[in-house]
């Protein structure tokens, strides 16, 4: 089985120096070719009527994605294409970063409580109602955002919208549900302890961001969750889970009349104030720090590297997409070639760029046999430093650029994916036009810009390394690594 990991490129195709012009041509072409005549969906005219003409539009192939701001402050993204399935996604600009210090996990608990019952329906009735609509509900709580996604067949879209309205505007205050929720989350926490990959990723983010609110674990710990009371949940809901702090993304075969009704109903919902947060400085120049997460009897070690990046709004933000691709973003990337294809040390390398409104994190992750973890970490650092000091090779830069641009629209297979990415851009403080602009900006990048952007980060000296392993057996080997400023050991379950 071959898992797609991340991407990279290669110099073999002999991409011509003038290739950037080709890229631009491709970008233009993609718009026409992508949907091959457009997807079935609501007409722009109908959409226009639905929200009073204040919308902005970006072309997605031959279709159009609309967005606008309601008087409540809620932003709405509408991508009315596709058949059969309608999706409603509510993204609130709040998450674990808003947890009070003595109530870690509150954002998670409050959001979970929202999808358990409403003021009119107890838990069983609510769940049965979701079942009657054939709805699928998913919730994600992150450090800076909370995402609620509901998908239903088109014939149930209106009824689902009514229920969604009840969920967000008329939630329940059920202590029994809260108690049951604590139990569920305890189970989830216990389950995560058996998942080395997920555990390592959570700990790496906390390690990299340190005391900054992005370093908070959304799930938190049982001791903290148990301190949360219904009043805390209500306060959090009032402060964060309201219209003016939300993006609503609607996708699928939704007609204009439904949008009108949505607007009429939702404009009566609680508005609230957009949360104001004190600026917290991101950690800088802490040197290269290693955290060993101690877990006994591992037949594989998780090896991760984290590097803080500028936020998505930064001018040089797109440059780091190419860094990601070259390091571990494709099967041809440096780390995949070296660690997998050439040395056979690992099955998988991940390279990801986690985005937040005020920052981003480049994450490299792999897993290897215990006797290879020190060397593997050494190789990962070698390539990071080499890329920082010497820059990309011309061929790999061009291949990464080409791959990124060609791959861009392939990421968004379903209308719901397009709508979500637009909502994400709004969350990061960008316009949904970034859907078109990101590949254009990447296509326009010069190698020198990318090299300079990454060099400045690497030379600043702030690298977070994490290895999940039997620490006592490997501590001395890691201590011999050159350039390490600090090494700490923590048990995996504390």
């Amino acid at each position: 089985m071959r898992r797609l990991v991340v991407r990279a490129l290669g110099p073999v195709l002999g991409v011509a120096p003038r290739w950037r012009w080709v890229l631009r041509w491709l970008l233009v072409g993609m718009g026409v070719l992508w949907l091959g005549g457009g997807r079935p969906g609501v007409s722009p005219a109908g959409t226009h009527e639905a929200h009073g003409g204040a919308e902005q539009v970006v072309a997605i192939g031959t279709d159009a994605l609309y967005w606008w701001q309601e008087p409540s402050g809620m932003q709405v993204v509408f991508f009315g294409v596709g058949a059969d399935v309608v999706s409603f996604q509510v993204l609130w600009h709040s998450g674990a970063m808003d947890d009070p210090p003595d109530r870690a996990g509150l954002a998670m608990v409050a959001a979970e409580h929202l999808v358990r019952c409403t003021a009119q329906m107890d838990r069983l009735a609510f769940e049965d109602r979701l079942g009657d609509l054939g709805a699928r509900v998913e919730l994600q709580v992150g450090e800076s955002a909370t995402l609620l996604r509901v998908e239903v067949l088109a014939e149930h879209a209106e009824a689902m919208l009514v229920l969604l309205g009840e969920m967000v505007d008329a939630p329940c205050e059920d202590e029994a549900v809260l108690a049951a929720l604590f139990t569920e989350l305890d189970g989830r926490e216990a389950f995560r302890l058996d998942d080395d990959q997920r555990l390592a990723r959570t700990l790496l983010a906390s390690f990299a961001f340190g005391a900054h609110p992005y370093g908070r674990d959304p799930l938190a710990r049982s001791e903290s969750r148990q301190r949360i009371r219904m009043a805390d949940v209500a306060r959090y809901r009032d402060a964060h889970l309201h219209m003016s702090n939300a993006v609503l993304a609607v996708s699928g075969p939704v007609d204009a009349a439904l949008l009108v009704r949505l607007r009429e109903t939702w404009q009566q919902f609680r508005v609230g104030e957009r949360p104001v947060r004190a600026q917290r400085a991101l950690p800088r120049a802490r040197g290269t720090r290693l955290l060993l997460v101690d877990k006994a009897n591992r037949s594989q070690h998780q090896v991760l590297v984290g590097l803080l990046l500028p936020p998505p709004t930064a001018e040089n933000g797109p440059a780091f997409e190419l860094v990601r691709v070259v390091l571990g973003g494709t099967f041809s990337s440096r780390l995949v070639r070296e660690l997998r294809s050439e040395r056979g040390w690992t099955y998988m390398v991940r390279a990801e760029r986690w985005r937040y409104p005020e920052s981003a994190l480049l994450l490299l992750q792999t897993f290897v046999a215990p006797d290879r973890s020190v060397q593997t970490l050494g190789q990962m650092l070698h390539h990071l430093n080499d890329l920082g000091l010497h820059g990309m090779r011309e061929g790999e830069f061009e291949a990464a650029q080409r791959y990124f641009v060609e791959n861009w629209w392939l990421r968004f297979e379903r209308p719901v994916d397009v709508a979500l990415e637009a909502a994400r851009f709004l969350h990061y403080g960008l316009s949904p036009e970034a859907l078109q602009q990101v590949p254009e900006r990447v296509a326009a990048l010069e190698k020198g810009e990318v090299d300079a952007a990454f060099r400045s980060l690497v030379t600043e000296g702030d690298l977070s390394l994490l290895v999940l392993c039997s620490a006592a057996l490997f501590e001395s080997a890691f201590l011999r690594m050159p350039g390490l400023r600090s090494l700490a050991i923590v048990p995996y379950d504390t």
């Binding site: 079935p40 054939g134 450090e143 046999a369």
Partner: protein, 499 residues
């Protein structure tokens, strides 16, 4: 093995993967991290299908048996927004093209019937290793060249080896399909097998096995579950490969397997997306038509005997709480009974209304994670359940409650409201699958591997909607007897290992 299992669980049924499994995600997850992806499909060839040159080359009512140079059309049908045509090239290659607008990309998948069930005894992992090598020195490209070509198209080439098949696939932009077809046709000749490359990929295979099975409590238990459920039947072997066998697989083993399986008469190319069969067929004929016919196609099923059931075993694992995997026999893929069992699966395990999910994770709070899915095997399938107990909870008690519910369903069927909810949810899953070219191609490929009529896959929604409560009751009665259960329990503490 565990990978494929999880992919099937998440990708096909999506039961028990509602709220619980996506919680506790970091913002990175909002970026899509954590998604399980796999690659897929294949390109269509064109030719003037029947001389009419219309846009509905595979239109309903058109004559079957249409012959173009190098290919014969076997099926043609329009279903709603999509037109399906099935072709047989002169060398035996089967091609399915689903013309469908409204998709963002084209899925191109190549399927070989066989999979791990054809691994030679003592060389379990051969199919999987060969699949890996299909990304090294292939299609006239040096090692690493294939990936670079794919990436230049923006594509992510992937593959899956499972019990019945090996599937290679990519998602590409429509204008790349013809180029991809030529590369994939060249790749069908198989990889250049050099000892050094094979040795390197054996090491990767061992790491993959460690990742999917050895380091994953669920992987360990599911491997045991399959071995116990199928015994000497080839389905009892781990598709990922046996640790002790992987190092023994020689170049000659790989060559023998490739001769038996990797040839046009045993292969299917599926292309789904905004394409035209009439345009693609000539390209496919030109690209694939030069390949030699090779051996006869592999049969869809093995007749090896199955072990006596029930079976229960336990072992000690490095887990914090008990983990239990259970399975019952299930109808083969693509049958009405299989769909009925999927409805039952949703009714019992879907979030948030599934009876057992509700009972075990909320009302009694005994289980921290539950997942269940109906396996999609060509011949003998399994209904599999995976449950993570909360610390201190006995799996024995949980098992008793599951038995009670299953007995009730077998005797009295599902409550009407619950049945309707489950059916509706399954329709939603089918509709969602229809939005993604790769998942459409995947379903068609699986039906072809199982020897089913591929058109039936596209009719699944209607078939699900036609199911009645009695269908579910019947499947429960037939398959869920206590005497057919297979169970493995993973225990956290050091206890005597049985069976």
């Amino acid at each position: 093995m565990s990978f494929a299992i999880k992919v099937h669980a998440v990708g096909v049924v999506l039961v028990g993967v509602g709220l619980a499994s996506v919680l506790a995600c970091r913002d990175g997850v909002l970026d899509g991290e954590g998604r399980v992806e796999r690659a897929a499909p294949v390109p269509p060839v064109t030719a003037r299908a029947d001389g009419e040159g219309g846009s509905q080359a595979a239109g309903e009512g058109q004559a079957l048996g249409v012959v173009i140079a190098g290919a014969t059309r076997l099926l043609a049908e329009v279903q709603g927004r999509q037109a399906l045509s099935m072709w047989r090239l002169d060398n035996g290659l089967t091609v399915v093209v689903v013309e469908r607008g409204g998709l963002a990309s084209v899925a191109y998948q190549t399927w070989f019937r066989g999979g791990s069930r054809l691994d030679p005894e003592g060389r379990v992992g051969t199919a999987h290793l060969l699949e890996h090598l299909m990304f090294r020195e292939v299609a006239g490209l040096a090692d690493g060249g294939f990936d670079r070509v794919m990436e230049a198209m923006g594509s992510e080439a992937g593959a899956v080896t499972w019990l019945d098949y090996t599937n290679f696939g990519q998602r590409v932009r429509p204008e790349r399909v013809e180029e991809l077809a030529r590369i994939e046709a060249a790749r069908m000749r198989g990889p250049v097998l050099r000892e050094a490359t094979v040795a390197s990929e054996r090491a990767v295979l061992l790491r993959e096995r460690a990742y999917r099975i050895d380091q994953d409590p669920h992987g360990v238990l599911l491997e045991r579950l399959y071995a116990s459920a199928f015994g000497e039947h080839p389905y009892g072997r781990p598709a990922a490969g046996r640790r002790e066998d992987i190092g023994q697989i020689a170049v000659s083993d790989l060559e023998a397997y490739a001769r038996q399986v990797y040839h046009p008469a045993n292969a299917l190319v599926v292309i789904v997306g905004p394409v035209r069969a009439e345009t693609l067929l000539p390209v496919l004929v030109e690209a694939y038509g030069v390949l030699p016919k090779g051996h006869e196609a592999v049969g869809a099923c093995d007749d090896a005997p199955l072990p006596e059931l029930p079976f229960a075993g336990r072992l000690v694992l490095g887990v914090d709480a008990e983990v239990m995997v259970m399975a019952y026999p299930a109808p083969p893929l693509g049958t009405k009974a299989s769909l009925a069992m999927q409805v039952l699966n949703v009714a019992l395990f879907a979030e948030p209304f599934g009876v057992l999910t509700r009972l075990l994770t909320v009302e009694r709070a005994q289980v921290s994670e539950v997942n269940a899915w109906v396996g999609e095997f060509a011949c003998r399938s399994l209904w599999e359940m995976l449950l993570h107990m909360r610390p201190g909870v006995s799996a024995r008690e949980v098992r008793r409650q599951i038995h009670e519910v299953l007995r009730e369903v077998a005797e009295n069927g599902l409550d009407e409201a619950l049945f309707l909810r489950a059916r509706k949810r399954l329709v939603l899953e089918a509709a969602t699958q229809g939005q993604d070219a790769m998942r459409l191609a995947e379903g068609i490929g699986q039906y072809w591997v199982a020897g089913r009529d591929v058109r039936e896959f596209l009719r699944r929604r209607e078939q699900i909607e036609a199911l009645g409560g009695e269908d579910v009751r019947e499947v429960a009665r037939r398959y869920l007897g206590a005497g057919q259960e297979v169970l493995w329990l993973g225990e956290p503490a050091a206890k005597e290992v049985t069976p």
